[in-house]
Symmetry: C2
């Protein structure tokens, strides 16, 4: 029987607030067994770009990662956020080890091809982009890998990569070796049936119900890429996807997405 | 018989110049066997502090690491320098994995006690500060650990730590498991017998000759802490200490320090 592995992804809200981050770290420490943490950026990097006088490069309303921006987000995500998180986890008893995709070649990305828009130094994750062997070795040594949203192309170029995509790609890559649960943590208790009612968490959603909720417009636009991503992970062998509040990962209220 | 492990330390010069860094990375790739790389900061962090309007905090002529400075050096060393170096090493065929001291609790430091001067968030390395087990595990997996000059105290606090000290402490900690060579790389071919003659490299220095060279004033003031550090490492079980040019690590001209 395969061991359970829990892959958690956290983003903006919890990373931007020191008190929330500490609460998350404590809750994460209570999660038993093998686990991986993937973190996004938060607002700090945007503020730092401003402080350094780096103007956001936008094309057709989309943010572009130029060389100066890549430098700052690499510093912020792989340096400040990742290391502060690892130090806090270590203090709370989790033997965390921070990684960018370049470290041990753990995630090798491909620079997004230029079609209509040149996104700059942004990485997409093809099949076989994750070094599952290294992650398994670290996990079996008792370590908790903490992945930031910076990858590399194997030719010396770092790349800015979506953290949700990293989380689901890592979960899929480890599904052969582990029974993987993928946990997307955010600022609500789960997927809401009524956006105006925080207590309307839908406990379980299958693929058919998901299509229906989309058709009915119940699921908000911002949630759709996350859930599409989640159902694709289930199709690819991930056992369970959970949408939950970052500060309540050990509480019972959450949305579980299931294969059928 | 123990396996050979080579611990290299690089600093300012080579880190500040992209072309030099690429040359070092190629040379480092040619070094066979188990190896660890420790890197200092370089001038980029100081420039960034200026760009962000953070005034250097000085007390009695010594630089103090206040909270804002620590944030920036963490970003710069653990984020930018470490990740760019790892990505470049990966591209050159070295399976590098970047680490701060917090990662896997690999180096646990102690905040420098306040005596005459409060140095702020600076870490000293007591005995047993290095997690030799983790470094050995990584090395035996075929990885090359790349350590930056940021450590932690185990209670959630990151600390700025001298890279020479990290290199020699790591070398000493691994001397039980490996036959360790410690390589201090800098901008000259070795210890010079005549500061005005770049070709006056002293090929070998033992402890007695070192005392004599100091007495005679042949060894420059800036070199003394590095060499004191080196001879202490030899005393503590490191097999060999080498002082050499960062761009000529595979060339024969260098200074080897020996126990007797």
């Amino acid at each position: 029987m395969k061991e359970v592995l829990k892959v958690f992804k956290i983003g903006g809200g919890v990373l931007d607030d020191e008190a929330q981050l500490q609460r998350f770290v404590q809750e994460f420490g209570r999660v038993q067994g093998r686990k991986v943490l993937v973190h996004g950026g938060g607002k700090g990097a945007s503020q730092m770009l401003k402080d350094l006088g780096i103007e956001p490069q936008m094309v057709q309303g989309r943010r572009i990662t130029d060389a100066a921006t890549l430098d700052v987000v690499t510093m912020f995500y792989a340096g400040k956020t990742n290391k502060q998180l690892v130090a806090a986890l270590q203090a709370a008893g989790t033997n965390a080890l921070g990684l960018s995709g370049a470290d041990g070649n753990v995630i090798r990305a491909v620079k997004r091809p230029v079609k209509d828009i040149d996104y700059g130094f942004v990485g997409d994750l093809p099949e076989n982009s994750v070094n599952a062997t290294l992650l398994s070795t670290l996990l079996e040594t008792g370590l908790t890998p903490v992945l930031c949203a910076i990858t590399h192309d194997g030719h010396g170029q770092l790349l800015n990569t979506n953290a949700d995509t990293i989380a689901s790609t890592v979960a899929r890559a480890l599904a052969a070796a582990y029974e993987v649960e993928l946990h997307f943590c955010f600022e609500k208790d789960g997927v809401l049936g009524d956006l105006n009612d925080e207590s309307s968490v839908i406990p379980q959603i299958g693929p058919e119900q998901y299509q229906q909720l989309k058709t009915e417009g119940v699921i908000a636009a911002g949630m759709i890429p996350k859930l599409d991503n989640a159902f694709a992970a289930l199709e690819a062998g991930v056992e369970k996807v959970v949408i939950e509040h970052a500060l309540k990962i050990n509480a019972p209220v959450k949305t579980v997405l299931c294969r059928s």
